[in-house]
C-alpha cells in the first residue's frame, strides 16, 4: 500500500483521538444501504504489459476506418504536427493560468496573442483568455447581456445549436430570465417577422452559420436589436467560417462567442474544447473570464499582465461578473499555434476548401433521384439534405458501407424526419465525397 502515507498505527492513533473505533464510523451519515460493503470491482492486479495489451485490444474495437460527415458543433479539421511538440514543452504544458501570472511572461504573451487573433477573426475590440467551450461561453454571454442592459428578456433563435440552448437554460434556470425562441423560415434562418423585440429585451441571440449550416443576416439582426436598445449576441460553432465570411463585428454584433475546437484541437469524442469570447471595449468590465494586457515596465520594456482582475471572483468574491475564474490555457495555446501556423491566408485557404467541397457535395447529392437540399439559405460547410426515406434509415444504410453520413435532425426537430445534416470539411477527399454520393444513390 505504498500510496497510503500513514501507517496502521498512525491511523489507529488518529481514530482514538477523535473517539472512533473504525474508519467506517466516519461515514455514519451516509445511509447503510448506499455504502459499498465490498471491494471496488476492478478485478485482481495485472502487470503493466498485460494492462497495455488489454487496452490495445479494446482500442482495436474503435471504428477508425469510417469516413465521417459529422459536424453539428464539432468539426474535423487537419491539425498541423507542429502543435503537439510545441504545447508539450515544459514551459507551456499546463492547463492553468499561473497563480503568480506575471512570473510566466511566455504564458501571458501567448494568451495576449490568442486574444489578439480572436479579435481579428471576430472583428471585435476585446477578447478574453478563453472559456470552457462554446456552449458555456454562450451562457456567459447571456448573463453578460443581462448585466449590461439590466433587462431580462432574451430572444434566442431556434436554429442555435440545441445543446447550446440547453446549456443556456441550465445556467439561467433560477435567475428569472424570460427566454423566447424565435422560429426559422423555410430558408432555414431566423424569421425576422417573428422578432418581438421591445424595451425589456436584453439581447437577440443567434448562431451563424446556424445549426442547419445557414448563414444568418447579422447586419439586419443587429439593427433590429439596437433599435430597441438590445444587444446582438452571436454564437459560432464553426469559426473556420470566419475565413470567408464578413466578421460578426463588422455586422454590428455586441458579443461574439465561438467554439474554438476547429483551430487545431482534436475532436476527442466531444471535448474538452475551448470557448472563444469577444466583445466591445465599452462592455469590458462586464466581460467574464481572464484578460491579459500589454504593459511597460519601469525601464520601458514590454511585458504582459493579468488585467482588470477586479472583475474576478478571487478579488470581488460574490460580486464578481462571473464565477469563471480560469481559462482553457492549453487549448487556447493549441488554437494560438494553429492560427499562427496557418496565418491569415492559411485560414482563408482552409475556409475556401471547406466551402468548395461542401458545395460540390451538396450539388451532387441534390442531383440524386429523390434527394434535394431542404434549406435554401447560403451555407458554409454544412447543409441539410431532404431524403426520400427517414434520415435514420438512410444513415443506417450508409453505416453498412462504413460511412457516417451526418446527423439526423429529427433528434432535435421532430418534424424534420427526412432531414440529414451533412458536414464536409477540407479533410474529406473528393473520392470520399464521391463515395458518399454513390452510396446514397444506392
Amino acid at each position: 500500500m505504498r500510496y497510503i502515507p500513514n501507517s496502521p498505527d498512525e491511523r489507529r492513533s488518529m481514530l482514538q483521538d477523535i473517539g472512533r473505533a473504525r474508519i467506517e464510523d466516519l461515514f455514519e451519515q451516509i445511509p447503510e444501504k448506499l455504502r459499498l460493503n465490498e471491494p471496488v470491482g476492478v478485478g485482481a492486479p495485472v502487470s503493466e504489459p498485460d494492462l497495455v495489451a488489454y487496452f490495445r485490444e479494446l482500442a482495436a474495437h474503435n471504428a477508425t476506418d469510417y469516413q465521417s460527415f459529422l459536424g453539428a458543433g464539432a468539426y474535423s479539421h487537419f491539425i498541423p504536427v507542429i502543435i503537439d511538440p510545441l504545447i508539450s514543452r515544459s514551459e507551456f504544458f499546463t492547463a492553468y493560468t499561473p497563480y503568480q501570472p506575471e512570473l510566466s511572461q511566455g504564458t501571458l504573451q501567448y494568451i495576449f496573442e490568442f486574444q489578439t487573433m480572436i479579435c481579428q477573426l471576430t472583428g471585435m475590440e476585446v477578447a478574453n483568455a478563453s472559456l470552457y467551450d462554446g456552449s458555456t461561453g454562450l451562457a456567459e454571454a447571456v448573463l453578460m447581456a443581462n448585466r449590461v442592459t439590466r433587462r431580462d428578456h432574451f430572444i434566442i433563435a431556434d436554429t442555435v445549436h440545441p445543446q447550446y440552448r440547453e446549456v443556456v437554460e441550465s445556467y439561467t434556470k433560477n435567475l428569472g430570465l424570460k427566454i423566447d425562441y424565435a422560429p426559422h423560415t423555410e430558408a432555414g434562418t431566423i424569421d425576422p417577422a417573428s422578432l418581438q423585440i421591445d424595451k425589456t429585451t436584453a439581447a437577440v441571440v443567434v448562431q451563424s452559420p446556424n445549426f442547419f449550416g445557414s448563414i444568418e443576416d447579422l447586419t439586419m439582426l443587429a439593427e433590429a436589436a439596437h433599435q430597441a436598445g438590445a444587444l446582438l449576441v452571436v454564437a459560432i460553432t464553426e469559426p473556420m467560417s470566419l475565413g470567408v465570411l464578413k466578421s460578426p463585428g463588422a455586422c454590428g454584433a455586441d458579443i461574439v462567442v465561438a467554439e474554438g475546437q476547429s483551430f487545431g484541437i482534436p475532436l476527442s469524442y466531444g471535448g474538452p474544447y475551448c470557448g472563444l469570447f469577444a466583445t466591445l471595449e465599452k462592455y469590458i468590465r462586464q466581460m467574464p473570464g481572464r484578460l491579459v494586457g500589454e504593459a511597460y515596465d519601469h525601464d520601458g520594456r514590454r511585458g504582459y499582465v493579468l488585467t482588470l482582475s477586479t472583475r474576478e471572483q478571487h478579488i470581488r468574491r460574490e460580486k464578481a461578473t462571473s464565477n469563471i475564474c480560469t481559462n482553457q490555457g492549453l487549448f487556447a495555446l493549441m488554437a494560438t499555434i494553429y492560427l499562427a501556423t496557418m496565418g491569415r491566408r492559411g485560414v482563408q485557404e482552409v475556409a475556401r476548401q471547406n466551402l468548395q467541397k461542401a458545395h460540390y457535395a451538396a450539388a451532387r447529392i441534390a442531383g440524386l433521384d429523390g434527394f434535394s437540399l431542404k434549406i435554401s439559405a447560403p451555407f458554409f460547410n454544412e447543409f441539410v439534405v431532404a431524403c426520400p426515406r427517414p434520415a435514420t434509415e438512410v444513415m443506417q444504410a450508409l453505416l453498412d458501407k462504413k460511412i457516417i453520413g451526418g446527423v439526423a435532425l429529427a433528434n432535435y426537430y421532430p418534424e424534420m424526419s427526412d432531414a440529414l445534416l451533412v458536414c464536409v470539411t477540407e479533410t474529406a477527399r473528393k473520392s470520399a465525397i464521391d463515395d458518399l454520393v454513390s452510396a446514397l444513390a444506392g
Binding site: 439590466r150 468590465r285 477586479t310 472583475r311 478579488i315 470581488r316 460580486k319
Partner: protein, 131 residues
Amino acid sequence: MANTPEDLSYTKDHEWVRVRGEQATIGITDHAQNQLGDVVYVELPKVGEKFEVTEPFGSVESVKAVSEIYMPLTGSVVEVNEKLNDAPELVNADPYGDGWMIVIKMDNPAQVDGLLNSAEYEDYIKEEASE
C-alpha cells in the same frame, strides 16, 4: 488628515450627502478615496432607478479592489455624474466637488437626521483606524 466639510452629512460606509430641498447629492469621502487609491472606474446607476437606504447603488474600482457604494437615504436617481465615465480620477482629485456621483430625490428627508455630522464622522474614522 482627511478633509470633512462641516456642511455635509456622512455615513459609516464613507459616503457624504449634501441636502438641497428635496434633493440630495451623494459621493464618497476624502478619507474613502484616500483609502482606495487611484480610482480607475466608477459604476453608477441610471436616472430613474430607485434604491432603498443601505442598498448598493454602484461601485468604485481602484487598481486594487472594487468597493460597493451604498445609499445613505432612500430615493430615486435624478442625475448622474457622467463626467466620471471618462475621468474617474475626479473622485480622487475633488471628492466633494467634481467627484460627486449621483443626485437623488429623497423619499423620506427625515432619514437625514440619522446620518453623522462632520465631527461624528471624524471620530468614527479615528476609531476605525485605532482598531
